[in-house]
């Protein structure tokens, strides 16, 4: 492997890291509130609202059911509008975020669903408002599960970021595609794949440890 390729791989790791980090961050900023809304507006919950739940649920389901590669292409004009360009690491963050939001939302919803309804009843009987109950009872109680889901989501984003390489997204995915596929350099292909696997495993491990550490049951 030439030094040139080694440098490319090193910056590829960094780009992958940057894309995964920011896309995860942004997708949680939007997906977490969406997940909370999906949870709390569903039937029998504190802020039950069939209309809101149906609309958000439908949007989430539609975005989630689109294959990520299709979403990438569909979002090119939008990405150009947001960041001024449609290729490169920064540009890839946009479709990654959009693609991850519905996944995050459903994951958050299912974590919150696991919370013992008795705790919500106790909070209500103490005179807590629905918002207060969500912020101070439900979310704290769901924290270990939310962290576990978080690790899975970040690993998913990382996998998607490799796909973003197809449309010039940069990162390890782009390197694997360029050198490994188009130029058929097997060693580069295997190196990048190994690095991707290691990154995913590190994230999973970190998530599991954090979740375990916070779990008091």
């Amino acid at each position: 492997m030439s030094d040139y390729i080694k440098d490319a791989i090193i910056s590829g790791v960094w780009e992958t890291f940057v894309m995964t980090f920011f896309a995860s961050l942004f997708s949680y900023l939007v997906g977490m509130p969406l997940g909370v809304i999906l949870y709390s507006t569903s039937r029998g919950r504190l802020l039950e609202n069939r209309g809101v739940n149906f609309v958000i649920g439908a949007i989430v389901n539609i975005t989630r059911s689109l294959p990520f590669l299709i979403l990438l292409v569909l979002l090119i004009p939008f990405t150009r509008f947001v960041v001024g360009q449609s290729i490169g690491t920064t540009a890839a963050i946009v479709p990654l975020t959009i693609g991850a939001i519905p996944i995050v939302a459903r994951m958050v919803e299912s974590s919150l669903n696991e919370v013992n309804p008795g705790i919500i009843e106790a909070a209500t009987s103490m005179g807590a408002s629905p918002i207060y109950t969500i912020l101070h009872f439900i979310i704290p109680e769901a924290t270990p599960s939310l962290l576990q889901g978080g690790a899975i989501n970040v690993a998913t984003v990382l996998g998607y970021s490799a796909m973003a390489g197809v449309i010039g997204g940069g990162g390890l995915g782009a390197i694997a595609l360029q050198y490994g596929y188009y130029r058929y350099q097997k060693d580069v292909l295997w190196t990048t794949v190994t690095l991707l696997i290691i990154m995913v495993m590190l994230i999973q491990e970190l998530g599991i440890r954090l979740s375990k550490k916070t779990r008091k049951t």
């Binding site: 008795g118 106790a122 909070a123 009987s125 005179g127 807590a128 109680e141 008091k216």
Partner: protein, 335 residues
């Protein structure tokens, strides 16, 4: 004495997927200030539904529930939350936040009513002292026993100085000994703080041990209501009789024979009372019905016996049982 709760012709119908189920049918009753009011009935009778109408966790379908004269149904969301600060509740499943320490759990109720942080901590510490759990303040609930968890829930419920405490099967998940301890604690708090307590249970012994008055709920109806000693010694309704005489009792050998009910509340040691009575006094009693179970080697339940005829012998037998720590009450078997 003021009425804390007043229920008038309360109906509750659940509607699910087009199916209707009426869980409360025309229930009217009052709960008086300072008393321990028991609500007893079989599983599914509607006890939880009833108690949940008292803090409007459940809306009534018709009729009114008033708290100190105020119709709960008329309250707006904010006013209802305000009222709920005076009506605390504890549950069979304790319902503590597992991800928060014991003291943080106790502080939650105070935080909801807006108590400043420093005051909150102090008050929570005091409450933990009252329930005897000071040394567990920084543990997480998962490390506590069931009885300890319920003590934390009691501390959390009472930290805000409520006017009433509602208990929905609060001791049903606990063994007899721990149940006894929790009930003693509730009784103590009732006396010291003049706290009105409403206790839901399916266990006779709970009502017998600490309640002043009792309502019997049967299939959504209020079957009977009155002083505990009256209802239990001379039950009128079919539902009450079924509770007091759980298995079909034998007929007494003499229609005028005196019948008493012995209650084992789990605090007695495992002593064979009847054979001891025979051995030590030579008296014979006739067992008409017995419904006892042994939990961890502790007798728990009740027995209906017919006492010997001579008045002197009766007294000897009653004294013997009382000395053994059993509660003895006269009953009338009419029918």
């Amino acid at each position: 004495m003021d009425n804390v709760f007043e229920l008038q012709n309360v109906y509750k119908t659940y509607k699910n997927d087009g199916k209707e189920f009426t869980a409360l049918k025309d229930v009217s009753l009052t709960v008086k200030e300072g008393e321990i009011f028991g609500i007893i009935g079989m599983s599914g009778a509607g006890k939880s539904t009833l108690v949940r109408t008292l803090n409007r966790l459940e809306e009534v379908s018709s009729g009114t529930v008033s708290f100190y004269g105020k119709d709960l149904a008329s309250l707006k969301a904010r006013e209802l939350r305000e009222v709920r600060h005076s009506i605390s509740m504890i549950f069979q499943g304790f319902n503590l936040v597992n991800q928060r320490t014991v003291i943080q759990n106790v502080e939650q109720s105070l935080r909801i009513i807006g108590t400043p942080r420093a005051v909150r901590r102090e008050k929570a510490k005091q409450m933990l002292e009252i329930v005897g759990l000071s040394e567990k303040a920084n543990e997480y609930p998962a490390r506590l026993s069931g009885g300890q968890k319920q003590r934390v829930a009691i501390a959390r419920a009472l930290a805000v100085d409520p006017k009433v405490l509602l208990c929905d099967e609060a001791t049903s998940a606990l063994d007899p000994k721990i149940t006894g301890e929790i009930l003693d604690l509730l009784k103590k708090i009732n006396e010291e703080r003049k706290l009105t307590i409403v206790i839901i249970t399916h266990e006779m012994s709970v009502v017998e041990k600490i309640c002043d008055r009792v309502a019997i709920i049967d299939d959504g109806n209020l079957a009977e209501i009155g002083e505990v000693k009256d209802v239990f010694s001379n039950p009128q309704s079919k539902a009450a009789k079924k509770l007091v005489f759980p298995s079909n009792p034998f007929d007494p050998s003499d229609v005028n024979g005196q019948i008493v009910r012995l209650v084992f509340d789990g605090t007695q040691s495992n002593v064979p009372f009847i054979s001891n009575l025979v051995e030590q006094t030579g008296l014979k009693v006739n067992i008409l019905s017995a419904n006892t179970k042994s939990v961890g080697g502790i007798g728990y339940g009740q027995m209906i016996i017919e006492l010997p005829k001579p008045a002197k012998d009766r007294q000897t037998a009653i004294d013997f049982f009382k000395a053994g720590g059993l509660s003895v009450s006269e009953v009338t078997v009419n029918e």
